[in-house]
């Protein structure tokens, strides 16, 4: 039944797991509220799923955020414009690659908070849909 398990820290971020018939190395580091775990060939990002760990990040319905840090190189829509699902709203360039921000559904553009040339960070709301 319940195996006797021990975990030992052998070097920064490197641990050894031992149970009755098994010994193996795994890797684990913590970065704020995120824990990075490497276990049997796979990397996992974990967060504690509790009240205290909820991120400061507010989710606004219809808000479309920058997918990654980069520069806005094209804005294709303006407030009041009707858009269809999949339509390109604006384009962010990062690491020399263009990434289009597309409408997740049909709707009307409520606001556009970016202009070509703006540097944006992930989480910044660029377009709001109604």
């Amino acid at each position: 039944m319940a195996a006797r398990v021990s975990v030992e820290l052998v070097a920064p971020g490197i641990f050894v797991w031992r149970d009755d018939d098994h010994v193996e190395t795994f890797h684990c580091v913590r970065d704020g509220e995120v824990v990075h775990l490497f276990w049997r060939g796979t990397a996992y990002r974990l967060e504690a799923d509790g009240e205290s760990s909820r991120s400061a990040h507010r989710v606004v319905p219809g808000a479309l955020e920058a997918p990654m840090p980069g520069r806005v190189i094209a804005v294709r829509v303006e407030p009041g414009q009707a858009v269809t699902k999949g339509q390109e709203l604006l384009v962010v360039e990062a690491m020399k690659m263009e990434n289009a921000l597309r409408a997740p559904r049909d709707g009307t553009v409520k606001s556009v908070a970016a202009r070509p040339g703006d540097m944006v960070s992930p989480g910044v709301v660029l377009v709001e849909l109604e």
């Binding site: 580091v29 775990l37 490497f38 990397a43 974990l46 967060e47 504690a48």
Partner: protein, 492 residues
């Protein structure tokens, strides 16, 4: 031999070049941008010079700044690596004008091969097979659309002065053509400062194969066999190997002969690569010549036992090739996987961040060339490749088995990587059967794998690990710590 080599690059390749120079007893100078103050490559060289701000155009691509660094440090040769200025004829020329040696082909070779239209014409005239396409001077939207119609859908748009997949787009209908053309031009302008386009018939399910060539300044030209680089995303290679599992000895000989013919037509000097598309029927077509060391050169090194950077340096120093055309033999099979900080589940978007923890795989037949270490910052400014994992085996099966095992011991924590995708590729039955083509990922691995949580014992291990790590932490911090409460976890 050179007194000092300046390495005009960053990351993995800068580190790799510095290592060969060290073996050869040649001091090195690294250049770095403000974003790379803490990077690995300046530490791997004997000296390091700050050449500008994070933005590549004002640092790694700033010819004057790079040459000023060479002058200040007394370097008498420049190795450009790959990417950045490596295929820039003006840079090669400026290096020569400054009285230094450029470790690579002469400027006119860069110029002739960098202009893909001229290169195709020259190859076609030399009897090297080329894909049907358009390379005309009329670059109007109308002319390009008409050409696409004539070549036949699907077509692929490519920047005339490009490389690395940037600005390339496959277009399947006249309807999609205008927006694809506009986007390709924009990317080409941004990346290469030139938005002229070449257009070609897009072959369905082709393989990407390429021939490594080496030419010295005494008129000797040899090939070092082929590489197959069919596994690509966004038209960029991520898994490469040699020999190609698709070629019979006869087709291999024909391909390598065509590669040599192309290099001869280009009057090639130093290390270069002639790229071809290989159709399912065994026919192959010239794509382009890469006038630089390739990212994937290490697989060729693995089967030949040669150090291509060393050969590049010796050729640049005026030495004759140390072997003749039939004196290089290949042994076994080699694979390369490129480890990127990118998110395969979200359109391969780059995933910047800090590498918190890093461990390289070890074992027989494993080589790990990395540009980062634990603590390195992966920024938005540059290509997000972290490292190249190369395995060698007596045959393809052994090389694949070693790669599969090595990928399970490649630990990168802190940034999202394509590790799981690389594992999925080499684990795939089609990959293990050698049934490759450039649409392999779209065909076999398009659907993102559903997020799978860690098994219960892994969570238990993580909890125990955190408790151990926290030993040194302050009690106040621990009191308000969400990790103290062993609540449910979720994948972040």
């Amino acid at each position: 031999m050179f007194a000092k080599v300046l390495i005009a690059n960053r990351g993995e390749i800068a580190v790799r070049v510095a290592r060969t120079c060290r073996v050869m007893g040649i001091p090195t100078v690294a250049v770095y941008s403000e974003a790379d103050r803490g990077a690995l490559h300046p530490r791997e060289a004997d000296e390091a010079v700050l050449v500008g701000p994070a933005e590549a155009a004002r640092s790694y691509l700033d010819i004057d700044a790079v040459l000023a660094a060479a002058k200040r440090t007394g370097a008498d040769a420049v190795h450009p690596g790959y990417g950045f200025l490596s295929q820039n004829a003006d840079f090669a020329e400026a290096v020569l004008r400054a009285g230094l040696t450029f470790i690579g082909p002469p400027p006119d070779v860069h110029r002739a091969m960098g202009d893909k239209q001229a290169a195709r014409r020259r190859m076609a005239a030399s009897g090297v097979p080329v894909v049907p396409g358009y390379e005309g001077d009329d670059q109007s939207d109308g002319a390009l659309l008409a050409a696409a119609r004539e070549v036949g859908w699907p077509v692929i748009l490519k920047p005339s002065r490009g490389g690395g997949g940037k600005g390339m787009r496959v277009v399947r209908s006249a309807e999609d053509f205008p927006s694809a053309l506009a986007a390709s031009r924009r990317e080409a302008r941004g990346a290469f400062g030139d938005d002229r386009m070449v257009l070609e018939r897009y072959l369905e399910k082709p393989r990407h194969v390429e021939v490594q060539v080496l030419g010295d300044t005494h008129g000797h030209l040899v090939h070092l066999f082929e590489r197959e680089c069919s596994i690509q995303r966004r038209h960029q290679k991520i898994v490469e190997e040699t020999p190609s599992p698709a070629l019979t000895p006869e087709r291999r000989a024909a391909l390598c002969a065509a590669g040599l013919a192309a290099a001869r037509a280009a009057a090639y000097v130093n290390a270069g690569t002639v790229e071809f598309l290989l159709a399912p029927d065994g026919s192959f077509y010239f794509l382009e010549v890469n006038t630089r060391l390739q990212v994937e050169h290490a697989v060729t090194e693995a089967i030949t036992g040669l150090d291509l950077v060393r050969l590049q340096i010796e050729i640049a120093a005026g030495k004759a090739l140390p072997f003749g055309p039939d004196e290089v033999s290949a042994q076994g099979h080699a694979l390369e996987c490129r480890l990127y900080a990118e998110d395969p589940d979200h359109n391969d978007r780059p995933a910047p961040g800090r590498v918190l923890h890093y461990a390289a795989p070890e074992g027989p037949g494993i080589r790990f060339d990395s540009g980062v270490v634990a603590g390195s910052e992966v920024t938005v400014h540059y290509d997000p490749m972290l490292a190249k994992l190369v395995t060698w085996g007596r045959d393809r099966g052994e090389a694949v088995a070693r790669m599969r095992a090595a990928l399970r011991r490649t630990v990168v924590l802190g940034v999202t990587t394509n590790l799981a995708r690389l594992q999925a590729i080499v684990d795939h039955p089609a990959f293990r059967a050698g049934a490759l083509h450039t649409g392999f990922i779209e065909e076999h691995l398009a659907a993102p794998a559903p997020p799978v949580g860690p098994p219960p014992e892994a969570l238990a291990a993580a909890h125990a690990a955190l408790r151990l790590s926290r030993g040194a932490g302050s009690p106040e911090a621990a009191a308000s710590d969400p990790w103290e409460t062993l609540g449910p976890w979720r994948l972040a």
